[in-house]
């Protein structure tokens, strides 16, 4: 059962990442990977909120597998983040590469912390 939940969530999360990335990149011509940045930060916020809900007892393990391990896990990506950073370095955009790493890590962590804090506010 847990496998089915993870795979179902991921089969929604992965194409959502692909479509969101295309939609975001279509609006930006800066060469900065805003699409991956956006899904990684958004996914961190949702997973932080969900983890807080699980800690508070408001969400069960099934929802955690479906939305956390499956959907958020597949919506966000480390491999594309690394590849896009490498491409920025290789094309001489070292400043943008550094900004992508620092920005993604800090904004992602901030979003996850905000999600946890939000859950504590909703389910005290």
């Amino acid at each position: 059962m847990s496998w089915l939940l993870v795979v179902t969530g991921a089969m929604i999360g992965a194409p959502l990442r692909y479509l969101a990335d295309r939609a975001v990149q279509a609006r930006h011509t800066s060469g900065f990977p805003w699409g991956t940045f956006t899904v990684n930060v958004a996914g961190s916020l949702v997973l932080g909120l969900l983890t807080g809900a699980v800690i508070a007892g408001a969400a069960g393990s099934r929802l955690a597998l479906l939305l956390g391990t499956g959907l958020c896990g597949a919506l966000t990506t480390y491999s594309t983040f690394s590849w896009e950073t490498l491409r920025l370095i290789e094309t001489g955009a070292r400043g943008r590469a550094a900004a992508n790493v620092a920005g993604s890590v800090l904004a992602g962590l901030g979003a996850a912390c905000a999600g946890l804090a939000l859950a504590r506010g909703i389910w005290p």
């Binding site: 491999s79 790493v101 890590v105």
Partner: protein, 147 residues
Amino acid sequence: MTLPKTRARPTRTAGFLQGRVVAAVALGGGAGAAARHAAAVHWPTPAHGFPWTTLVVNVAGCALIGLLTVLLTEARRTPHPLLRPFLATGVLGGFTTFSTYTTDIAGLLAEGHARTALACLVVTPLAALTAVWLAARATRGLLRGRA
């Protein structure tokens, strides 16, 4: 009067390919996430411990995307158009995760394990970038050697 017909055809083909790409990404994403879940089940992270499993999964996925993308974009043979969406965007995108990385660190911080949180925060991107760089370099070397 033939103009609408000839204009409609490429749009429909593009839409058809787009639909197949989304399906390939979904299937690959499901497989990648199942593999990540298997790793988490076999090597569970102890409470308040360093999240090694997520680190290893992410670093392995980064090495694989370096190898794969160089093979698919820089080799002489043109790959099938669905191969990169399925394997890179789908399987490796579903296998690796950014949200578990950030949420694990947020959890460690909230529980007062700042040193473990900071170590994970810094080590993961350094190891991931080293892995993708080394894998891309090694694959390019192999491709040049065969050319």
